[in-house]
Symmetry: C2
Subunit: 581 residues, 2 copies
Amino acid sequence: MALLRLTPLCLLVHLCCFVLFVSSVLGAKARHFEWEIEYMYGAPDCLENVVMGINGQFPGPTIKARAGDTVVVHLTNKLHTEGVVIHWHGIRQLGTPWADGTASISQCAINPGETFVYRFKVDKAGTYFYHGHYGMQRSAGLYGLLIVDVEEGKKELFQYDGEFNLLLSDWWHKGVHEQEVDLSANPMRWIGEPQSLLINGRGQYNCSLAAAHNSKGSGLPGCKFRGNEGCAPNILHVMPNKTYRLRVASTTALASLNLAIGNHKMLMVEADGNYLEPFWVNDFDIYSGESYSVVFRTDQNPANNYWISVGVRGRQPRTPQALAILHYQTTTASKLPTLAPPETPLWNDYARSKSFSNKIRALSGSPTPPRINHRRIFLLNTQNRIDGYTKWAINNVSLTLPPTPYLGAIKHGFSNAFDQKSPPDTYLNTYDIMKPPSNPNSTYGNGVYMLKFNTTIDVILQNANALNANVSEIHPWHLHGHDFWVLGYGEGKFSKKDIGKFNLKNPPLRNTAVIFPYGWTALRFVTDNPGVWAFHCHIEPHLHMGMGVVFAEGVHLVGNIPNEALSCGLTGKMLMSKPHN
Amino acid sequence: MALLRLTPLCLLVHLCCFVLFVSSVLGAKARHFEWEIEYMYGAPDCLENVVMGINGQFPGPTIKARAGDTVVVHLTNKLHTEGVVIHWHGIRQLGTPWADGTASISQCAINPGETFVYRFKVDKAGTYFYHGHYGMQRSAGLYGLLIVDVEEGKKELFQYDGEFNLLLSDWWHKGVHEQEVDLSANPMRWIGEPQSLLINGRGQYNCSLAAAHNSKGSGLPGCKFRGNEGCAPNILHVMPNKTYRLRVASTTALASLNLAIGNHKMLMVEADGNYLEPFWVNDFDIYSGESYSVVFRTDQNPANNYWISVGVRGRQPRTPQALAILHYQTTTASKLPTLAPPETPLWNDYARSKSFSNKIRALSGSPTPPRINHRRIFLLNTQNRIDGYTKWAINNVSLTLPPTPYLGAIKHGFSNAFDQKSPPDTYLNTYDIMKPPSNPNSTYGNGVYMLKFNTTIDVILQNANALNANVSEIHPWHLHGHDFWVLGYGEGKFSKKDIGKFNLKNPPLRNTAVIFPYGWTALRFVTDNPGVWAFHCHIEPHLHMGMGVVFAEGVHLVGNIPNEALSCGLTGKMLMSKPHN
């Protein structure tokens, strides 16, 4: 293409060197942060609302570190009555499973007024983020970016002149406490589509930055800004003919997104902290829980500015695009782009989505999966009812988290802390995934998949029809404590013959992978990280409605769990039952 | 009066016997309750809203017991991310200070998913209630009645043919989480007057049951009910020419109230679980935290029904009266009263309010206060600013509760759990209570008034001007763990000469007493109940903004505090620090 003056080759100058660095102790730092979490007023989409802030900021501060560093976050809960935790999404917590920040799984929620110290190593460069993992506090705005650069003295595999970070989220005007009541009600009240999409916590409700381009007509009036509003658009200031890295992460509660930069092609280079075999795109899909790095060259007319557009895919969009501005510093920042914002591809063009997902391959030289798996777990995703309540279930079990976190419960042998019966490894082979469940009743459960340490596990995520006919939704599944290889995506019900089609050559390593409507996704990982790890749909209301499972591996190898992570439930009782004065 | 065919004498047939019973073990029961707390949808004032419910009920279930019984409530927290406690308002918790249900004071909040067992003796007959005491959960609807009858086989001091209970509250459409953010914001955002007053959790927003009597014009249209709505009015079904006991308790977040029954005089007989020297009223004031029993005779035209009206006093009312119907069963319940509802006295007729308060005397034969006090504590109530935040302060200290509850902290000697310096016993004697504070800056604090065990304490609550000129508000102060004698009310600044005017002959025993604008109120109590006890303004937002103090007495005499009450903060750390596997 004429627009493209850049080849992958000239960007990826270091490709020939091996992509995995051994973390060097030299130069590694402990990076300390003191954070206080509280509710505050903000106006994420220009409409005033209560948001969850960290040190008065929404989104929370961006953590910047280098591979090998130790991040130490002293987190103080300044909420009035609520506990809180923070999950470091994409960080595998090697050796520190109690720092994973998942309430009921890795630790007890931090009580109001108390401080918990998260201390963990960021062993691998990449684009990560953090977020609340208790109730629906992520939806309330408890999130921020965690950027890990390559080690001091090492060079990134690709060169760039500047870097921008975009954290994508979606926003509702209704508070999360009420959303929780809605989702738990009988009949369930669906929270609906978000009012706004946010880029770095900024969106514009009921107005459009691109009103001048409204030929297709959002019908929204233009936004008026003095420029200092917290909801004013993000502006990425660039110089012409330079190369920039754009780090993009999605912490949406619901929306699957697509991002494009007007006139600029992007080279996909990183996903979830792992290098990709680079490929060019005009736009890319990003599901909740995913992150990408792209590089692009500012090779367009430097007298213009360009829109960066983010729109909804996978659900009928009722939310306008979020927009940011790529500003060539050769012109004025306030000059609106002359071209209309890039259109988001049709929401239900799943063929296009799948085509993109299938292009994602690990960079040559990346670790490849073991050839053989030891166990294969099939996880059927269904929408169900329990006593009239609408739930999501996996193999007919809807996850309800217990008051005693699993990590401590298993480590200390509390057999009454959760269902001791393992949830099923598969589902009835007569199940018709194309129809609403013939028996929609499922059960609550909180059993654990006990995985043998240092074995290779395949998970086949199987999508199905929801309760209503002709509905099957997208679910991005996120695994804690691990990256997994995405061996493949398929249509319909997984069958043995699909195993032969697995990509064992260059499957991408990810921590999040989507299942498409009526389709399956095959994942492989090695149980080499002692701990208890959530594996769940990253759509916040779906998790709230039970859409997750729990994996445990090598818990006997876990070191001393800090008491602070054990202070609730049965582990708290145990620790306190020692005689005292 | 012609309407009155009843004398105190004929009601109080047992007045001659001594009013205090020694609790008999014979017949005493343990009364067990299993409660689950969660948010749910309700429509307290016909407008749908989220309320805090117990076992799916709002208000919570009424506990009925007899003096000497042990109440055992197994309280399970089914909230998603919030802790919870329940305070048993008016129950002194003799020997069980850890069951007082005040977060940060008597116990750690109960974590989501966990169960705490409240076990306490209701030693004294009376009209009590219970409510949340964490954040603003009381405002969210976490409350209910606790009715203690005289012991089995004993007779009440007055006779009646039937009994009704009215729990009064006020209701906002804005959720409490947002209210908390409002009150904590800089600048503070006042929550305003309640949208509705509720009687037993029922009110009517934007309509009036008494629309037909709108001569003075609320302007509201009539309410339309099929009759089964949760917000349909309370109807008290009575037979003519009988005597009824009406138990009334107020758990309002803000409103001071006045209650009247059309055409019916009432005889005041009980306040806060203590007998009164009976006196007749046409209406009575009731402040948040107070309870009363009145008796009345159904001696009016039995072909009519009569309004029970509850209206706002002490603040300019912006909330319509709450109404209930006294239904003579000789007519139909749906027949609306022919007379207009009783008017609530002028909100700022404080002379009337004071006159009522001054009529309240202990029933002859009640315990009288010790003649001499050992310590006198002056508590100046002021509105202040701290770093621009609007707060309420006592002797210039605004209470911020610590993460380690005081009871455990003091019992186990944690000197770093709270400010070790005692807050001041008095304030500058040059302070001008008639003007806004000349230095409005106060400090945060969480020190404790350490009271010598078995001594007599006088507290002089001193009201003052708030931040704005010519504003002094009503504050009903509630003491945990005790009843106190109300020795007197006075105008202006308390001075030594006022001591001589104390009523030591028949002061009423209460657990809540109001201070009037620019006035003082003198209380006396004996520190005979080992524990740590909150003493605070019962207006929920005022407490939230720091309007309280903490008293500790004889904590060395407190028995073993259950671990479940100690599982947070420093006591939790201590208990967990014992070696374990």
